[in-house]
């Protein structure tokens, strides 16, 4: 990224951090966690220890980072190299991202930027100008993306509470600052489990790897009574609601399932899993040494802040997570897609010079769709 753009983003981010200290707090058990940050056009600085809000604020102002992270893990020596940190435990974390939800709206608001010639276009396979296949894709998520992500968050909460006995007050939901949500689970029986166990938990939550027998279908000695009841708890219950639809249809559908046979049941199960399984990024939950975006910090992919969602159903990231100033700035924009921020509509812009508020300019520059004029 060009120096003038970086300077502009750094100034805007710094201003945010200076004016919103109240929003950026260190998490509990601060001194047991590892912090890290990135600056624009530069690598990651990690293995940092921060002891309180004050130190964090100082770090933000001194470094004007593009992104700030904090571990979900607790260590005896958080600032030592990875294998000397002495891992103690880690909060469970989940990442739900609109890009992983296979939404039909995606194509209409995804843009490709050619790595070779910087051409921006809506063609997602090859650059129309130089024919290169090395494309960077940028999405400007729409309301549908956010709503679909919220649905996944609700599905996740249901499994966490009902199946895994997590207290509602120990689940915290944050807007990720870009295209989805981050969910934290504190003080659960899972604090000390390792990466492979977490991976199994991921498979459970996303209904992956289920065998027909679990839902009553057997290869031999088939038995109608082993199919789940409509009121059952856990995945058997969710399965029966999805597949049977209603109590009255249960019997008829079981007859159908039995006559279709075992392998067609497995196929159906895979489809059901695609529909009702919770779509979480497995890599995030499995990683017990991750430094995860710090709540309250700005996401440099968008210029929006990662903020807590008090009421998920009403939450609108494009009004609530945009904190940068309204000051006007002049940019060259090449953004073929329209977007909304703070209840204002922007774009589309085709290679034009325009004056716009800082928060919108930052959004486009972060997406590589504009530069300071």
């Amino acid at each position: 990224m060009q120096e003038t753009n970086i300077q502009f983003l750094e100034d805007s981010f710094k201003k945010y951090y200076f004016n919103h200290f109240d929003q950026i707090k260190v998490p509990e058990r601060t001194s047991e966690r590892e912090f890290g940050y990135q600056k624009f056009n530069s690598g990651m600085t990690r293995h940092i220890v921060i002891k309180d809000d004050k130190e964090l604020h100082l770090m933000l102002i001194q470094n004007a980072p593009s992104d700030v992270y904090c571990s979900n893990a607790y260590y005896t020596f958080p600032n030592s190299p990875m294998n000397e940190k002495d891992w103690k435990e880690a909060d469970l974390i989940f990442d739900i991202d609109a890009k992983d939800l296979n939404l039909s709206c995606r194509e209409s608001h995804t843009i490709s930027i050619c790595n070779e010639c910087n051409e921006v276009s809506k063609n997602l396979t090859r650059c129309l100008k130089c024919n290169s296949s090395k494309l960077e894709k940028k999405s400007l998520p729409c309301k549908n993306c956010i709503d679909a992500s919220k649905t996944e968050v609700s599905k996740l909460s249901e499994v966490l509470i009902d199946d895994l006995a997590i207290d509602r007050e120990n689940i915290q939901v944050y807007f990720s600052g870009n295209e989805g949500f981050h969910v934290y689970v504190y003080n659960s029986q899972f604090q000390q489990i390792g990466s492979r166990e977490r991976s199994e938990l991921v498979d459970y939550i996303s209904l992956r790897g289920a065998i027909p027998e679990t839902f009553g279908m057997k290869k031999l000695k088939q038995n109608r009574a082993s199919f789940p009841d409509f009121d059952e708890k856990g995945w058997r219950g969710r399965f029966s609601k999805q597949v049977f639809g209603s109590k009255s249809k249960r019997s008829k559908i079981i007859t159908e399932l039995l006559s279709n046979g075992y392998s067609s049941f497995q196929k159906m199960l895979d489809d059901v899993s695609e529909n009702i399984g919770v779509k979480i990024d497995p890599n995030v939950t499995m990683d017990i040494h991750r430094i995860f975006r710090l709540p309250g910090s700005i996401n440099s992919k968008s210029g929006l802040a990662k903020i807590h969602c008090d009421d998920l159903s009403k939450f609108d990231p494009y009004t609530e997570a945009s904190f940068l100033s309204d000051d006007s700035v002049e940019v060259f924009a090449n953004c073929p897609i329209e977007f909304r921020l703070k209840n204002k509509k922007f774009g589309p812009y085709i290679n034009e010079k325009i004056t716009m508020p800082t928060f919108a300019a930052v959004y486009m520059i972060c997406k590589k769709l504009a530069r300071i004029a």
């Binding site: 960077e136 199946d163 895994l164 029986q189 199994e200 992956r208 856990g234 995945w235 497995p282």
Partner: protein, 361 residues
Amino acid sequence: MLGADQIAKYPFVKDAGQYLKDQGFKIEQFGIDLDLKPIVEKAFDRIKIAADGKIYKSDLVGDQVSTQAALPREIFSFLLAIVLLKLSGRNTLIKRFALAEARRAEKHLEKDLSISDNPTGNVILDDEQKSIRNMAAKIIKEISNVEISKPKETDEGNYTSGQDEWLVNVSDYLTRSIQFHEREWKLINRKVENGKVYLSSHQTVRLIRKELGAYINSKISIAKTPEMIPGLENYVNKLILLAKKFVTFTVDTGEYPPCIKHATEVLEKGENLPHSGRFMLATFLLSKGQSVQQIAPLFKNAPDYNERVTLYQLNHLAGTSGSGTQYTCPSCEKLKTQDLCFAISECDNIINPLQFGRKKK
């Protein structure tokens, strides 16, 4: 307190040596006393059967012993087997013996846990049944630290639902079930409610099998090796000979597994291979002895290729830079979760791509 019948079932839990002393015996007697020779024979058989991968069939019939005399014989032969194993010093036999004894104990645990099961409805346990069941649960807690409970237990604890169901914390379940590779052990294939996994007595015992084996193994390992006991040399020599049977060789076909082939194909086509896929490919090839310089060009076609970054990351994985940790190839299970597994029949239940093509001879 464990009664003699409990010690016979679970001789590893309490100090069986103390029992021997309490009964007025010394270990040295077994080398010379002709009347005790059948017990030494029995101990030797116990080891031999275990070495063959079978479970020693005791004189215990059901929960009762056939005769009162069989009880001490049962306990003595276990103790003596340990003495013989220690004298032989052969770890492979100790491991096999611990495993077989674990299997034997498993059967008893399973039986004791399901003592009250009656699928037709609620049942009332009498005091003895209750104590047997509680003892089994306690032994499980002792060897694995896993707390198990019955669902829907009433206040008095006398009633039980009659179903063969035990509850285990999901976290306790996971730390053990990840060692199993049968699909039914995946958490998704279990009934999970309110933070607990529902398991049958059989499954509960299966869950802690490894710890049971390890517990018995450690009990044997920490037992002191006695001086050679006159009269037992012959048995010990036979055991040393027996241990020689269990040395194996493996050959490697050199063929790459489908996940690795798939990853290289993706890269060859210039398509994007996710970070997890690159990690798998690089760690696999490093483990197969390829150098960073040999591997780096593979990534040249990646849409975001950067030579400097690639070399840095490869060196990091190889342990030549950074923390010095050498990363190993992820397990098949992990790759499945990451959508990187393309298993074929030749994969044949391997648990890590590195095992692909390796055959025992």
